[in-house]
Subunit: 311 residues, 2 copies
Amino acid sequence: MSGNSTDLFERAAALFASVQEHICSALETIDQKGRFLSDQWEKDQTDGITSGGGISRVMAEGAVFEKGGVNLSKVGGSFEPALAERLGLAPVRTPFRATGVSLVIHPRNPMVPTTHANWRFIEAGGRWWFGGGSDLTPYYVFSEDAVHFHTVLRTICDQHDPSYYPRFKKWCDEYFYLPHRKEHRGIGGIFFDYLGKEGGVSFEPLLSFVRDLGFGFIDQYVPIVSRRHTLPFTDDDRKFQLLRRGRYVEFNLLYDRGTQFGLQTGGRTESILMSLPPTVCWEYNFEPKEDPRQIELMDVVRSPRDWLTER
Amino acid sequence: MSGNSTDLFERAAALFASVQEHICSALETIDQKGRFLSDQWEKDQTDGITSGGGISRVMAEGAVFEKGGVNLSKVGGSFEPALAERLGLAPVRTPFRATGVSLVIHPRNPMVPTTHANWRFIEAGGRWWFGGGSDLTPYYVFSEDAVHFHTVLRTICDQHDPSYYPRFKKWCDEYFYLPHRKEHRGIGGIFFDYLGKEGGVSFEPLLSFVRDLGFGFIDQYVPIVSRRHTLPFTDDDRKFQLLRRGRYVEFNLLYDRGTQFGLQTGGRTESILMSLPPTVCWEYNFEPKEDPRQIELMDVVRSPRDWLTER
């Protein structure tokens, strides 16, 4: 690390390190039993185009969280010409640096939603940009939870730019979609990319936006965990959770750009696939037919809702 | 169906229907408890470029087989120009017909290997070809089983063309490879494609080859099941099986061309994803360190063996 306070990349990386620490610490507090172990890794370029390192923090078999991973990374490499062109850069091999924090939390109790968040900063071809977002994947729909999650996101977004929430909410619904299932992954959240890339907005307010999102994540998610994690559940609820987790695996392996990019460029496999649930089931032709809560979940993932205007 | 006995496509389809019946019937006999339910489906073209139908036969919660699917399909559609070109056809949108039988069997006992087989016939651009193969994915390595599986395959191959087994065994090792894990999926088998496409060999001997493979599959697999399915196993063996099944999911969703092609062209999702195991686990950074049987499995999937010359 350069330690140079004017280096945008290092400033973003430092923010992400503090966000990782903040989130792990807060999740440990609510879990009480589980601890995030810390796994520092470095990778050279022999396996692919990516080199760099990071700190993977993983909780296994917590009381509340069956599996949780919060990964911090700082890597560098080269975009292939075709990828550089898709990113709006000159169509030549282009060195890049990327840093970010990425998390997926799989709770034990099916009444508690799974969540994912990621915030990242990329430098390439003389440009830089932020990307990221967070989204919620419940097994059963509690409208109150969905409204809470989106309200915190909209409040943070609105403090920075009133156009952010509506644009990024829509982007999220579109991104987390499984065409082969005609289902969205969950009840959405926000997703954004290339923020700052075309200029027009400077680094400081964007870093501030991402800081608010990173430190706001616990406010989005933990109140939901608190009111659901002691609810009773049945074997049938657990089975439904394991089957729905199958969709999570399908999305991440078939469509998620971060996963595919990471694996194809020789990223660190265990850190990338940390997002996969601890236990998953698949059953041929499963479709909930009787339980109204399961039918409602299917309805919600098939038709995204605008949680903040439908109350 | 035309019923015309000179229609190559219909003759291949009829063979695959009889292979499906033969395999389901033999697997039911050894399972004793489980039955293959039959699910006939048809799909129109509104969802994608594929239309057609098939019969999915699925066993769930058998005594020996935790999940098994044997899928018969007859579909048609159009190859995109880019795909037609990759297949060595003129680079224009090209109508195709495809028929095949595809199976994946996930046994309950970790001492019994998972197996996959597929045989297919494709007609497009005035050409036709056969493809397919079968392979074995054990959780623990019994050399005797691997040698048996490959011996039956080599015997069938040698009766048709002495070059088949060595070429198709190598092709199988190369195809069922997970680059992000640096692991092969199992102990291999055979894999072939485009057989007949470049001419030089007529339909009859190739249909006969595929018939021998299809009807020989039970001889390859069932003797292995018979001698392993009553072996005792521990919770740790079961855990290892569930973790290794994770690799199966990773291969099928990240790399398998049939799965990706099927999902992208609007094939029937439930029939395509029938291959996914019933229950699967992922654990961060799992690597067997103590159990010599688990270490041997890792060694075998990292370095494919030539089972028929190393005895």
